[in-house]
């Protein structure tokens, strides 16, 4: 079913508000990763406010859909989505990375309600997702497992081990979404360690692969819907994104991988995000 224009409008509004939360959190913490959080914002919005079956009043509901943010450093956008759903008090957002808060620098499944798997060490999320998907099959549960990975995670060998196993077990209850913003800490993927042709790699590993604009809500919804109906093989969605998306001076700028804005930069970011109609 194609989303109607009201749905798209609603999702765009949420994504913008989550981006505002991200900038607020990282500015308050004066530490964190804005670039990859902002590139992932639209993907997170579509998952958490359109697709996923979750129950914020029962974060450990056994039948919930699972989400793993393998690129754990982008957790501010995940925390913002979880807070909006009421998994925890919004006041926690201002305590990101603080010693008295529940929001760790990288996601911790035991400290934060709604986090299905601890992450932060790159390349590992898909393997955990394979475990969750195998469990669903064995226990005859119909939850779906979503794993978001970053482009630099394609550098890690364990990611490909996990891809082989997802394919071996024909896990059609798992969808990998690549937040493909082309930048990693030291520069562009193509300079640091080339990963193209990325779609050919995933196809050759036995995945049903789609490539879309990761900031296009309709395209994201269509692609995820396609992945849910694909049988007998795992799915990957290569979502082309822009690191720092939504804040002009951060967009496609490598240095915004892992630093916080100062006061002037914060004001400018807020003016840009809050100036948006939708």
């Amino acid at each position: 079913m194609r989303p109607d224009s009201d749905t798209i409008k609603r999702l765009k509004k949420i994504a913008n508000e989550l981006r505002i939360d991200v900038v607020d959190m990282i500015y308050a913490a004066q530490s964190g990763h804005p670039g990859g959080s902002l590139s992932a914002a639209d993907i997170i919005t579509v998952l958490y406010f359109h697709f996923m079956k979750i129950d914020p009043s029962n974060p450990l509901w056994p039948d919930r859909d699972r989400f793993i943010m393998s690129k754990g450093h982008a957790c501010p956008i995940w925390y913002a989505a979880l807070a909006r759903h009421g998994f925890f008090d919004r006041a926690e957002l201002t305590k990101l990375r603080k010693i008295d808060g529940i929001l760790q620098g990288h996601p911790d499944m035991n400290k934060t309600p709604g986090i299905d798997m601890t992450t932060g060490s790159l390349g590992n999320g898909l393997g955990a997702g394979v475990g969750m998907a195998l469990s669903a099959r064995y226990l005859k549960k119909d939850y779906h497992t979503y794993v978001m990975i970053g482009c630099s995670e394609h550098n890690e060998g364990v990611l490909w081990e996990a891809a082989l196993s997802a394919s071996k077990f024909r896990l059609d209850n798992i969808t990998v979404i690549v937040d493909y913003n082309k930048l990693q800490l030291d520069g562009y993927n193509e300079e640091v360690l080339p990963i193209e042709p990325i779609i050919d790699k995933w196809v050759s590993f036995g995945f049903y692969a789609q490539r879309i604009d990761g900031h296009d809500m309709e395209a994201l919804i269509d692609a995820i819907q396609n992945s849910l109906s694909k049988k007998s093989m795992p799915s990957v969605i290569i979502a082309d994104t822009i690191k720092g998306k939504g804040i002009s001076y951060m967009e496609d700028v490598c240095s915004w991988h892992g630093k916080a804005p100062d006061k002037d930069q914060y004001d400018k970011a807020m003016a840009e995000l809050k100036g948006k109609k939708s």
Binding site: S121, N124, G127, G131, S135, Y138, G157, E161, S165
Partner: protein
């Protein structure tokens, strides 16, 4: 003396557990006929997951399975689980405190002829450093069966270290195993030997050698390295005043280190450590390797006598 494989004990007991508890699942990294998870694979194919030769992913898949409430046993060789997959074990199994049981074969020098690449002589020290990890190295076949059962229902991660070769059967079937509790195998007041895993049967021989010389030694079998049975160590030190440890592992960070920590902080006592002396071993027959690296019965006996001398001079 009757001998049997500790890994065979694992392979058989995990099938029994599987019959009783549908939450028990097993992961394997392509060596099921060696780790003996092949029996589980045959009995429960729908919950046996062979991920191939990819131990890092194996640990991750285990974490994912455990996060849904299942109790995964992860099998490969000790050397690969403890080092190839070390970070996955640390961050995704120990930090998360998930119910993953790392049940691995070929501990210590027991994969003797295979050489250093397959000998696991650093695993206990690495695992002992990880918060939340319980570490058990069963002494014989019957203890292996009991320890597998105990590990399944011990909260959080457990590292179970089995051996390649057959070991003498010391305990009876259905022996009473409790995580964290040592077992006194021999009584004597001149000194105490504390041993773990496959070194217990070597220590038993040392005790007999010493007996012939009129030296009576307490032998404490310490299959749980963590949490260690500190009370038994302190009691042995108070009763005998001379402690010797014996382990099939590097001399650093294993049983000897753990015992020294307990003694140093509670009851400083003359002690000696029998272990691989901070070196890599080589290919060879198991008992010949132990002898070459100063870990045989006569070496333990000599260490006991020297430690008794130190006690006398103190």
């Amino acid at each position: 003396m009757e001998t049997a494989y500790t890994r065979e004990g694992y392979g058989q007991e995990i099938v029994e557990l599987g019959k009783e508890d549908p939450d028990i699942v097993v992961l394997e990294a392509d060596i099921s006929s060696s780790t003996k998870t092949c029996y589980f694979a045959e009995a429960f194919p729908e919950r046996f997951f062979n991920v191939g030769v990819s131990e890092q992913n194996e640990a991750m898949v285990a974490a994912g399975l455990a996060s849904t409430g299942l109790i995964p046993f992860l099998s490969t060789y000790s050397v690969f689980a403890s080092m190839r997959a070390c970070e996955q074990v640390r961050t995704f199994i120990c930090y998360t405190n998930l119910d993953v049981k790392i049940a691995v074969s070929h501990g210590g020098l027991t994969p003797c002829t295979d050489g250093v690449t397959h000998q696991a002589t650093e695993d206990l020290g690495i695992m002992r450093t990880l918060p939340n990890m319980t570490i058990i190295a069963p002494t014989d076949y019957h203890m292996s069966r009991a320890a597998v059962r105990a590990a399944a229902y011990t909260k959080g991660p457990v590292y179970l270290r089995f051996t390649r070769d057959k070991l003498p059967v010391i305990y009876d079937a259905g022996m009473d195993f409790k995580v964290g509790r040592s077992i006194r195998l021999k009584e004597g007041g001149d000194a105490a030997i504390i041993s773990i895993g496959d070194m217990t049967h070597i220590a038993l021989e040392a005790v007999e050698l010493l007996k012939k010389e009129g030296i009576e030694v307490r032998l404490i079998d310490m299959p749980t390295l963590k949490p260690i049975d500190a009370a038994a160590i302190i009691e042995a030190a108070a009763d005998t005043g001379a402690i010797v440890t014996a382990e099939d592992h590097q001399i650093h960070n294993g049983l000897g280190s753990a015992v020294a920590e307990v003694l140093g902080e509670n009851i400083p006592t003359p002690m000696a450590r029998i272990a691989l002396p901070d070196t890599f071993a080589r290919s060879g027959e198991y008992l010949a390797l132990l002898d070459m690296y100063g870990m045989g019965p006569s070496h333990i006996a000599d260490a006991v006598k020297k430690t008794i001398d130190r006690k006398a001079r103190a």
